[in-house]
């Protein structure tokens, strides 16, 4: 047979697995082949397909940054058989990686802008490399406002990084939960209501939104109320992505294949889809 099949994953080793929330683990993964590892270049917003051999394969956003040479990171929420198997892997175990796939957040287009990053639950995963990219090139952007919501305080995903985010210059981190607990002294409010309350100005701004569909829907409405234009609001779409190559014909929304044309779109682009997500 000729060149390798695009369906054969690269082999990788699980280096560390860190419990981030009761149902989300951060997996740090190293590709076995040094040449493939060196050539695995990606940008915030792109995804990879992870294989737990014997259970199957599923898509995950890559949450590390390419300059982190020590490994690829994925935030895996336990939600089905593949994610359960991935969470049960021990450091040193082998898994499969295919990718990187899809497009990415065009951060170079946002240079000089105020950035509003709004994430709910596991929706923070694709936003983490966006935030960390902005912080790496902090001078390239103006104000950075992060609004991060979750069901409960324990479900806030990237808590170990909160101090760094809060202390970064020109950066605000606003946390909110649907239900507090005894220790929680922060906001108890839904993300769209926090957007309404904080009312970040649409002037010279880009809002990047990711989270459950219901949060996205109401957050977009609040942003539009504040005067954001559709080309100022960017999101990343969820779809049934099996092959990552535009061949299995499962992830299309209208004429767009999310695995190839997406997953990142702005609202202006989405509004022109025949089928609405």
């Amino acid at each position: 047979m000729g060149p390798e099949s695009p369906f054969t994953p690269y082999l990788a080793t699980l280096k560390t697995a860190t419990q981030l929330t009761p149902d989300i683990k951060l997996l740090s993964v190293e590709l076995e082949d040094p040449d493939i590892k060196a050539g695995f270049d990606y940008k915030p917003g792109q995804f990879a397909l992870l294989s737990a051999f014997g259970e199957g394969e599923a898509p995950f956003g890559i949450v590390s940054l390419p300059l982190q040479k020590d490994g690829l990171e994925f935030a895996v929420r336990r939600i089905g058989t593949v994610t359960r198997a991935l969470q049960e892997l021990e450091p040193g175990d082998t898994l499969g990686v295919r990718g990187p796939f899809g497009n990415y957040f065009p951060l170079e287009d946002y240079v000089g802008k105020n950035m509003i990053v709004i994430g709910g639950g596991i929706g923070m995963a694709p936003l983490r490399p966006v935030i960390n990219s902005i912080l790496e090139q902090r001078d390239d952007y103006k104000e950075l406002l992060i609004i991060n919501g979750a069901r409960t305080p324990q479900d806030l995903v990237f808590q170990p990084e909160f101090p760094t985010w809060m202390e970064a210059p020109g950066t605000k981190l606003e946390l909110t939960v649907d239900r507090g607990d005894e220790e929680w002294k922060g906001r108890v409010a839904l993300v769209p209501d926090v957007v309404k309350e904080l009312a970040p100005s649409p002037g010279n701004a880009i809002a990047i939104v990711c989270g459950p569909p219901i949060m996205i829907r109401f957050t977009l409405a609040r942003l539009r109320d504040l005067g954001y234009k559709d080309n100022q609001i960017v999101t990343t779409l969820e779809a049934k992505m099996k092959c990552g190559l535009g061949k299995c014909a499962r992830c299309n929304i209208g004429e767009k294949y999310v695995c190839q044309d997406g997953p990142v779109f702005n609202l202006e682009q989405i509004s022109q889809f025949l089928e609405q997500p």
Binding site: T8, G96, G254, L274
Partner: protein, 332 residues
């Protein structure tokens, strides 16, 4: 130049081909005629109408292992499936050959599907022109014809006392048996088919995307998926891991956009939850998305879905209705 082969010549030729190739040909299985690898030439059926399934399954099998996972002392190795032998598909009709040509677009697009590409380059297509049309046939409306040689390596046409043999490609010429005489007679005329109004179907699909028409047609759909399985151009697939007694394989299998849950994500989001949305997806993929992506409408007019749909959803009728609904909308 056309050549002539008697039926005995063809049988001898198939016998020769069988020594070096996998030969996939129409055979009778219970009450159906279908394409299968043959072990003896006597099983080949020469006189048949459209087979139960198209021969697409040779290139995209209903179920196949993409790779197996081998573990040796904790060390994992992935062993991809290899294509071992050259093959010949014998007796496919021009509509089915066009179906294969259409499947090339997604599967050979880079990065190409290695198994598909290998099978495709190592398989020769020996077509058989249709002498009779079935009531459900409409290939002439879909860019092909009962005597269309354009997607095969060799085309046979049944004449009096034998077959007129036309080598279409160099690959076909290399496969021809030696010693066939030149045929100087007339090639029998192909059957005439009723036309389906496909003009501007792509723009009509775009215009009618949000029309209630789709829910109306879908009311009777049983989402049995037979339309997708018999279709020579339906290529949606699923990939799953199969683990049994320590043996682990990644398996690819046919899927259909008519299945509930086809587009359901782990998080519970599904862009197509109603039958109407799913049925519209099927027709949109064939008549709108595929042509916008790869130029051609992804239907070859073989009529199998028309023949087999248990509730008589008829793509010819849908195409005709599109024309009527757009005309009614524009008030002409």
């Amino acid at each position: 130049m056309n050549l002539f082969a008697s039926k005995d010549d063809v049988i001898r030729w198939l016998g020769e081909l069988l020594k070096e190739h996998v030969v996939i040909a129409p055979v009778r299985v219970q009450e159906q005629t279908t394409f299968q690898p043959i072990s003896q030439v006597e099983d080949v059926v020469f006189d048949f109408n459209n087979t139960a399934l198209s021969p697409k399954g040779w290139f995209l099998p209903p179920t196949e292992t993409l790779f197996s996972v081998q573990r040796d002392d904790g060390k994992v190795e992935l062993v991809p499936t290899k294509v071992e032998r050259d093959a010949v598909i014998f007796g496919l009709h021009p509509c089915d050959a066009r179906g294969i040509a259409l499947m090339d677009s997604p599967f050979l697009q880079e990065p190409s599907d290695a198994l598909y590409r290998e099978r495709r380059s190592r398989t020769a297509l020996i077509g058989l022109a249709c002498r009779q049309a079935q009531p459900e046939c409409f290939c002439t409306s879909m860019g092909s014809a009962p005597d269309d040689p354009s997607n095969v390596d060799i085309l046979l046409t049944e004449g009096e006392d034998g077959y007129i043999v036309q080598a279409v490609t160099e690959k076909g010429k290399a496969l021809l048996p030696k010693g066939l005489a030149e045929y100087k007679g007339k090639v029998p005329a192909p059957p005439k088919l009723e036309a389906v109004p496909t003009k501007e179907v792509v723009s009509a699909m775009r215009e009618l995307f949000n029309d209630p028409y789709w829910e109306q047609v879908a009311d009777r759909c049983l989402h049995c998926n037979i339309c997708a399985y018999v279709c020579p151009t339906c290529y949606c697939f699923d990939m799953r891991d199969y683990a049994d007694k320590g043996k682990v394989e990644r398996v690819r299998s046919w899927e259909s956009c008519q299945s509930p849950g086809f587009s359901l994500t782990a998080g519970g989001y599904d862009p197509r939850t109603t039958k109407g949305e799913r049925l519209r997806q099927r027709f949109c993929h064939k008549l709108l998305y595929f042509p916008e992506q790869f130029q051609d409408v992804a239907c070859v007019g073989c009529g199998r879905c028309v023949r087999d749909c248990p509730v008589n959803i008829d793509i010819r009728e849908v195409i005709s209705n599109l024309k009527q609904v757009t005309e009614a909308k524009s008030g002409s």
